[in-house]
């Protein structure tokens, strides 16, 4: 199965190159450089901090958005072109296909993470920049895996992409939502308590992406390797969960 995974991952990467996705990442990089130059002219003080914070936020969102869009559109096109049926007619298992695609997207996610990480390294210390880069890659992996699950579930671009964006926004704001929901004043009403319980349930099954790839690691000292290890642990668990769910969906699919 490893050979199947490697081959499918290889062709997934080739497809990304053919779609000129790398050029899009490069365009974001150039826009980021221009953006930092603009901020340099604009800011009166704390120039480096302002540049880093805004640049990191821009790069992070751009990387996630481009990757999710590519994963969704590429897989939907493959379904529509009957590419999946063709592949599965060959001696390729469904698990081999899924893990192959996942490995391909994971390798692809390294491109924006490394490119954007290199750009932040020009302004930030190398250590925090490296932590930020690895964290962005982990975040991209989770989003790519969730995008695959959404495509397998919805089969169409719009619902899948909407679900991915909803998931991303919710995962990044779940910590704040929990804080708001746990206000002592709010607990007095039944409806607020129900909402609070719902938020807690959501929090239990969502990855806390608000703790990933934070701009403050680049701007202020404090980000360390233990933090990254914790994020890697969360990513590994969540990727296992998403893989399980995606396998479940794929195996039940009547092609």
């Amino acid at each position: 199965m490893l050979k199947q995974i490697r081959t499918i991952a290889h062709y997934t990467l080739l497809e990304a190159m053919g779609n000129r996705l790398i050029w899009l990442f490069a365009a974001v990089l150039v826009a980021g450089i221009g953006f930092t130059g603009f901020l340099d002219e604009l800011a009166l003080t704390e120039k480096r901090e302002i540049q880093l914070a805004l640049l990191a936020a821009l790069l992070r969102f751009s990387g996630i958005f481009l990757l999710a869009t590519f994963v969704v559109t590429s897989m939907v096109r493959e379904f529509n072109d009957k590419g999946l049926q063709l592949l599965l007619a060959l001696p390729v298992t469904r698990a081999g296909y899924l893990f192959g695609k996942m490995a391909g997207f994971a390798a692809l996610a390294a491109v924006p993470a490394l490119l954007f990480g290199l750009l932040t390294a020009l302004l930030a210390e190398p250590g925090p920049s490296l932590i930020w880069t690895v964290s962005l890659m982990l975040e991209c992996w989770i989003i790519a895996a969730f995008s695959m699950l959404c495509v397998l579930t919805f089969n169409q671009v719009m619902p899948a992409l909407s679900a991915v964006m909803g998931f991303y926004v919710l995962s990044r704001s779940i910590g704040t939502l929990q804080l708001i929901g746990s206000q002592p004043l709010a607990e007095h009403s039944v409806s607020q308590r129900i909402i609070s319980v719902m938020i807690d349930c959501l929090s239990a099954v969502l990855p806390h992406l608000d703790q990933f790839t934070r701009s403050d690691w680049l701007v202020y000292p404090g980000a360390g390797w233990p933090l990254l290890a914790s994020l890697a642990g969360q990513s590994a668990i969540y990727l296992a969960l998403l893989s399980g769910a995606a396998l479940f969906d794929l195996y039940r699919k009547n092609l």
Partner: protein, 237 residues
């Protein structure tokens, strides 16, 4: 298209799904959600950065920032959140939101009525000074916040000298038609409370004889107060 039955899913895939879900739930339980502490309010960012981040919607961003700052007061597990906040940082945030939305009254309301009444004189004075500084930028629109601060400073903090300074600023700078007379007259009664009868009487005379007050009842009230202050001054001599 009907889906295949559950038996089509390999046991390993089901196991992975179950193990992943269990691991995620365990992870969640072992990592309790962060609780905001009152001391964790960060310093306000620079105006230029915030203006850029507002994407042309400074008023909307100002409102969001105000709610964000306000959120630090309402966190669980904090006994006296208002007092624990770093008030220098709070005024930084309030000043920032006021710069983004100069016509907004909410930052001054928070400063004078919420943060200005925490029961800690040092922190109350910080808020009072913030309102005083903000008042000078637009006295006719921001007079009510300073009037409230003057009253709080006089009666809650007991700092009559500072309160008189605020009341004087109201009399001298808040000259618009919407500013009520009581706000402009506070200064006079504070001067009397400080036993500065001479200045109080001078100001009262100016008001009564100046012709600015046309209401008969108000004139009668001011004359009565003048007589009382004059008799107090005579008694002290």
């Amino acid at each position: 298209m009907r889906e295949r039955s559950l038996s089509a899913v390999p046991k390993a895939a089901l196991l992975l799904l179950a193990a992943g879900l269990c691991a995620q739930l365990l992870w969640h339980v072992s990592h309790p959600p962060a609780r905001a502490a009152a001391a964790s309010l960060p310093a306000a960012p620079s105006l230029s950065a915030v203006q850029l981040a507002s994407l042309g919607e400074p008023i909307a961003l100002s409102k969001i920032l105000l709610l964000y700052v306000q959120g630090f007061d309402d966190q669980p597990g904090v006994q006296a959140p208002f007092r624990q906040l770093d008030f220098e940082r709070v005024t930084g945030w309030l000043g920032l939101t006021l710069q983004l939305d100069p016509r907004g009254q909410y930052p001054l309301f928070l400063a004078s009525r919420v943060y200005g009444e925490v029961g800690d004189p040092v922190k109350q004075r910080i808020m009072a000074e913030f309102v005083y500084q903000a008042f000078s930028a637009n006295p006719n629109q921001r007079w009510d916040a300073l009037a409230n601060v003057a009253i709080t400073t006089r009666h809650r903090i007991g700092d009559i000298v500072r309160a008189e300074r605020y009341a004087r600023a109201l009399r001298e700078q808040a000259t618009g038609p919407d500013v009520p007379d009581w706000a402009r007259q506070m200064d006079i009664f504070m001067l009397a409370d400080m036993h500065d009868y001479e200045r109080a009487l001078q100001l009262l005379d100016g008001l009564i004889q100046g012709g600015q007050i046309s209401d008969i009842n108000e004139l009668r009230f001011l004359r009565e107060r003048r007589e009382r202050i004059a008799s107090e001054a005579a008694n002290r001599k």
